[in-house]
């Protein structure tokens, strides 16, 4: 019996919200996936600028090791989920028809895993990582597991967004947990999408970095993502290439 979607949702949200932002939140989310979605391991892996940065959070050592096989062998459902930006399901790694990742499958089967599910983690349109779920029992999703996993992948964008924002702003005073926060959900607005497009062109950065720049500016100036988005669209605000705020009159050409 899998829990109702409401219970899943409450449990997954509580795991992220109750943890320190960043790595701890990612670890807690993975543990909640194991517990609530009936999995035996879970991990969040990272991709930035099209390059894999490996495993970030995990439900434990087993989850981490399973996830890292993909980077060791350069193949696996998580890498496919990232490159196609779609969920990749492998309900039985031992099935004769399952030929997609021979090296990864051998290693996972050796560790007692039969089913793997990988879901892309998105920040606006950019895929910044994947949520990987491992199960000893073969078979597909049951009950509300698919919807719960989709929600978990959405929640996983928060710790990754925090990490990318900390990367951008460096080790100054401004650690994300000390700022008035702008959540990943706050970024989910049309004016924010349009403004990140403007930043892609003006700063010549990818979609993920544009979103992180917009968020960092919102947090540093105590505004909402929406307010910053509208200011950028109305050409009242120009961000510098180094992340600071430029003067509209002297902004980048």
């Amino acid at each position: 019996m899998t829990p109702s979607l409401e219970r899943l949702s409450a449990g997954l949200r509580a795991a992220v919200e109750g943890a320190e932002p960043g790595l701890e939140a990612a670890n807690e989310l993975c543990s909640a996936c194991v517990e609530l979605l009936g999995m035996d391991g879970a991990a969040v892996s990272m991709v930035h600028e099209g390059v894999s940065r490996g495993t970030f959070g995990a439900s434990g050592d087993d989850g981490r090791r399973l996830d890292e096989y993909q980077f060791t062998f350069g193949e696996g459902p998580c890498l496919d989920a990232v490159s196609h930006r779609r969920s990749v399901l492998a309900p039985d790694l031992d099935a004769p028809t399952e030929t997609r990742w021979p090296l990864f499958s051998d290693a996972a089967l050796h560790d007692g895993v039969r089913a793997v599910f990988a879901l892309p983690i998105m920040i606006t349109s950019a895929c910044v990582g994947a949520l990987d779920l491992f199960r000893a029992e073969p078979g597909g999703w049951r009950g509300e597991q698919a919807a719960g996993a989709a929600l978990a992948a959405r929640l996983a964008s928060q710790p990754l967004l925090d990490l990318l924002t900390a990367d951008l702003t460096g080790d100054e005073q401004s650690r994300p947990d000390e700022w008035a926060t702008v959540t990943a959900a706050d970024m989910d607005r049309v004016e924010v999408y349009q403004a990140t497009g403007i930043l892609i062109a003006q700063l010549d950065v990818d979609a993920a970095e544009a979103a992180v720049r917009l968020r960092a500016h919102a947090m540093a100036t105590g505004q909402t993502a929406s307010e910053v988005g509208i200011a950028i669209i109305e050409r009242r605000l120009f961000l510098d290439r180094d992340g600071g705020r430029g003067d509209p009159a002297g902004g980048p050409a």
């Binding site: 349109s125 989709a150 497009g197 050409r235």
Partner: protein, 263 residues
């Protein structure tokens, strides 16, 4: 036509209207043959609703796997309408329609205020005085909703509502392709794909707008024109623009060359 000199204005109007209705279904069906682009098709649907019915704007919201509504298409790209559509995630006629599966109507501002105070404020601010929300569903799976916003108070005629609902049904079938129609997880996958495509389109509009100091409406037309003239899907062109493989100024130059934007 000239064989019927006694034809009244009224029958002329009816005939004109029939032609428009036929054209709307033909346009929608053209989007559906072969390898259609969900974004193009949904935009076509909202434009047809706005053209055919006495409404000034139409917006289509699709639900993700957790039942949260997201804006997927609008008849007009004008940014000041968007807030009204976006608000529906929390309250509004489209959210009520999605939850109940029934058509929701508010005939005038007082009725809007009574049901949804926040939504009513935003709607009145941009000049909407009435709203109709129609359910989008496939069998028992609620997919989303289409909101029709009018500048005048009043209820649409039942014929008009039926027509709009028929267009919406066609679009519902198309959003979820036939193969996956019975599998709820696959349906959610399709919806998620459509929603991500919409995010990419919004970002691409931003890239093109930045290249030429355009507003979002012009940027959208430039993107759509570039896609059509190059025999490409709108969503593919948008993805290339966002990935910086196709540069904003190239899209802009094409729009200027074909004369849809002033040089």
């Amino acid at each position: 036509m000239t064989d019927h000199p006694d034809r009244t204005d009224r029958t002329d109007r009816t005939a004109g209207r029939e032609r428009e209705v036929v054209r709307a279904f033909v346009a929608l069906s053209h989007e559906l043959v072969d390898d259609y682009d969900v974004l193009d098709m949904l935009a076509q649907l909202t434009r047809s609703c706005a053209d055919l019915l006495d409404v000034s704007s139409a917006g289509l919201l699709l639900a993700d796997g957790q039942g949260v509504l997201h804006l997927a298409a609008t008849s007009s790209e004008s940014t000041h309408h968007l807030e009204v559509f976006q608000l529906q995630r929390d309250e509004g006629p489209c959210l009520d329609c999605f939850r109940t599966g029934e058509t929701v109507v508010a005939e005038d501002p007082a009725e809007m205020r009574r049901h949804w105070p926040e939504f009513a404020r935003a709607a009145e601010l941009v000049g909407f005085a009435s709203v109709h929300a129609l359910p989008m569903r496939l069998r028992d799976h609620a997919l989303g909703t289409v909101g029709l916003f009018g500048e005048h108070p009043g209820r649409l005629a039942q014929d008009d509502l039926d027509l709009a609902q028929a267009l919406v049904h066609v679009a519902s079938v198309a959003v979820v392709n036939e193969r996956s129609a019975l599998d709820r997880d696959a349906v959610n996958d399709q919806l998620q794909h459509a929603l991500t495509s919409r995010i990419v389109l919004e970002q691409a509009k931003g890239v093109v707008a930045a290249a030429g100091e355009l507003d979002m409406e012009d940027a959208f037309h430039a993107l759509r024109r570039y896609a059509r003239d190059h025999g490409r899907r709108l969503s593919e062109v948008a993805a290339e623009v966002v990935a910086r493989r196709l540069r904003g100024p190239v899209v802009l130059a094409h729009a200027r060359a074909v004369g849809i934007l002033p040089g």
